[in-house]
């Protein structure tokens, strides 16, 4: 059984083949990074897996269940949670409330029970709050529980988004450029955080520009260029891959 298996994914925008026949697998409890120059199709690949962009062709299997063609909320309910490159926190809601949304798929009070304020929903709310605070505590943002999420510093907001995604109790976490906009120290902290998340038993797939982060923490690296896979290997092997060097450092014409 493969944890995540991506088969021949294709997606074009007009005449541009953003993702062209990309296949890869992901082992449980590992960290895999997707890298590539700007416009290589990394984020598109992410959006295809998480259901935000409909795919033209290909299949995605999660624990042998097909998840291609599902809506993002259904994929989330399957145990795949994601963050966004440009932070998408809920404005006007506190940090705690933001994280509590992450518990949505693990709770079930609906319109009627909510309107009637049925006693069992009180216990559920309490549990949602408790679970959320626990995750915030784990990531070190419990002190900000009552703060408006979007008023925090940028680096903190990234962690709130991470906490929100973690609150879904995902088996697979998709991180879209988790270090974007972070300074060197924050990036190092983020790297530690991602490893800790993996150690908690969550598999991580991330898109990243920051090479230091990627090389240090990834078990495997997938390299994309113009929508095509050019390498998929351990970090060291990728670093020595001729094709990757050519793409990253430019062609040697001499």
């Amino acid at each position: 059984m493969e944890f995540l298996k991506v088969n021949n994914l294709c997606r074009s925008f007009g005449g541009l083949k953003a993702v062209n026949d990309v296949s890869f697998t992901l082992k449980e409890n590992t960290i895999k990074a997707i890298i590539g120059p700007n416009g290589a199709g990394k984020t598109t690949l992410f959006n295809l897996i998480s259901g935000f962009t409909p795919l033209n062709q290909g299949e995605v299997f999660f624990n042998d269940n097909p998840i291609h063609g599902l809506q993002p909320y259904q994929i989330a309910a399957n145990g795949i949670s994601r963050t966004f490159q440009n932070l998408k926190l809920f404005p006007g809601m506190t940090v705690l409330e933001n994280v509590m949304i992450g518990r949505h798929t693990h709770s079930k009070s609906e319109f009627l029970s909510g309107m009637l304020n049925l006693p069992w929903t009180w216990a559920e709310e309490k549990k949602i709050k408790k679970d959320s605070l626990e995750i915030m505590d784990y990531l070190g943002i419990a002190d900000h529980a009552g703060t408006d999420a979007t008023s925090l510093a940028y680096g903190q907001q990234r962690i709130v988004e991470l906490a929100r995604a973690m609150a879904c109790e995902p088996k697979l976490l998709l991180l879209d450029e988790p270090a974007a906009g972070l300074n060197m120290r924050e990036t190092a902290d983020m790297a530690k955080l991602i490893t800790r998340i993996r150690d908690r038993g969550i598999t991580v797939l991330l898109v990243e520009h920051d090479m230091s982060l990627v090389m240090n923490i990834s078990d495997e690296i997938l390299v994309l260029c113009y929508g095509e896979k050019i390498a998929d290997d351990a970090p060291l092997a990728v670093q020595q891959n001729d094709e990757v060097i050519r793409v990253y450092l430019g062609e040697d014409d001499a």
Partner: protein, 357 residues
């Protein structure tokens, strides 16, 4: 916070009772008529506040749902079934106790649908229409959603204005009283004025309890997340189209119930209730109340409808609401009750709670 919520409801109940006692003491109980009508209009407005303020969607067609409720119950409780009394369908209805015999103003015998039956039917029809309209329309966003709901409102308006069965420009009249329970009837007759004031406000209190529970529940949080970022909500497992649709239908039911009740109270309904200006008025009042603020919507709903019904705005009625909408959008987009000063006062207090009032 749960306690604040209970306190707010308590204050509402005390205010409702005090106003009635005050009008009694000052011999101004004629105000109760407009206060009763304002209460019913407020039901539409708090429902719309849920759609606009919490789920972040807009509807410029809610007068349509009000009219569907009002017109359906008016039609069913006034349409004479005597000519068909021997048909199997009418016989079955009559056997099931769903029909009532009565006489109209001129002493003609009538056989009509029981108000309770027509009320339930009106709500069911509203739910069906709201699902059918809301399903495709709520896929739209912003201006497009506004235009589509506006279109729906216009269609309903033209239907009631152009159909002889709905009385065309005259509307439907002679709608009988609606006995909710024996002795408790919704009607505009003088002897039951105080009773009807309390019936209407009981419904508003109930509506406020239900909705303020809802916005403080898991669903309320999910709705606010949809308002904040549809993508992020989607990624967190919130089925955004389902929640938007359910919210829309729920608010349509609030509007329809208001339509049913007010039609029985007034003894009739006319096409102006379905007009686009009514929908715009509801939207304007929700905006003045502060969008995601049920209490603001309620207070402004009662106040402005009361002033309008008492005729304070004269023939400029609709213009006033249009003007209010422009001014609010320019100077107080968060509503009149949430001006900056109030906001600063709130911030001065240390904030420990996480739920909003």
């Amino acid at each position: 916070m749960k306690k604040t919520r209970h306190l707010q409801i308590l204050i509402l109940i005390v205010t409702v009772i005090s106003i009635q006692l005050l009008t009694q003491a000052t011999d101004t109980s004629y105000y109760l008529t407009q206060l009763t009508m304002s209460a019913y209009y407020s039901l539409v407005i708090i429902g719309l506040s849920l759609v606009m303020g919490y789920a972040g969607q807009i509807s410029i067609g809610h007068a349509g749902f009000f009219a569907i409720g009002g017109y359906m119950s008016a039609l069913l409780t006034t349409h004479n079934l005597l000519p068909y009394k021997d048909s199997t369908f009418v016989l079955i209805l009559s056997k099931a106790g769903l029909l009532v015999s009565r006489q109209d103003l001129y002493g003609t015998d009538l056989l009509t649908v029981h108000p309770w039956v027509s009320c339930i039917l009106a709500i069911v029809i509203t739910i069906v229409i709201a699902y059918v309209i809301g399903g495709p329309v709520l896929k739209l966003k912003g201006h497009y959603l506004a235009m589509a709901t506006l279109g729906f409102g216009i269609i309903i308006f033209r239907i009631v204005l152009g159909s002889s069965i709905f009385g065309e420009a005259d509307g439907l009249s002679d709608v009988p009283a609606f006995a909710l329970l024996p002795g408790i009837e919704v009607s505009g007759k003088m002897p039951v004025r105080v009773l009807n004031y309390y019936i209407a406000w009981t419904m508003v209190v109930t509506g406020m309890v239900l909705l303020s529970n809802l916005v403080n529940s898991r669903i309320g949080r999910a709705l606010r997340s949809i308002h904040g970022s549809e993508d992020a909500a989607n990624a967190m497992g919130v089925n955004i189209s389902k929640y938007k649709l359910h919210t829309f239908v729920l608010s349509a039911v609030f509007a329809a119930v208001a339509g049913v009740m007010l039609t029985h109270y007034n003894g009739g309904i006319g096409p102006s209730e379905a007009s686009v200006m009514k929908s715009v008025r509801y939207v304007a009042i929700v905006a003045i109340g502060g969008m995601a603020n049920l209490w603001g919507a309620l207070i402004m709903g009662v106040l402005l409808n009361f002033l309008s019904l008492r005729g304070y705005f004269g023939s400029m009625d609709d213009a006033i609401f249009g003007g209010i909408l422009i001014i609010i959008m320019l100077f107080a987009p968060n509503g009149l009750l949430r001006l900056e000063i109030l906001g600063r006062l709130k911030k001065a207090k240390p904030k420990t709670g996480t739920e909003q009032a």
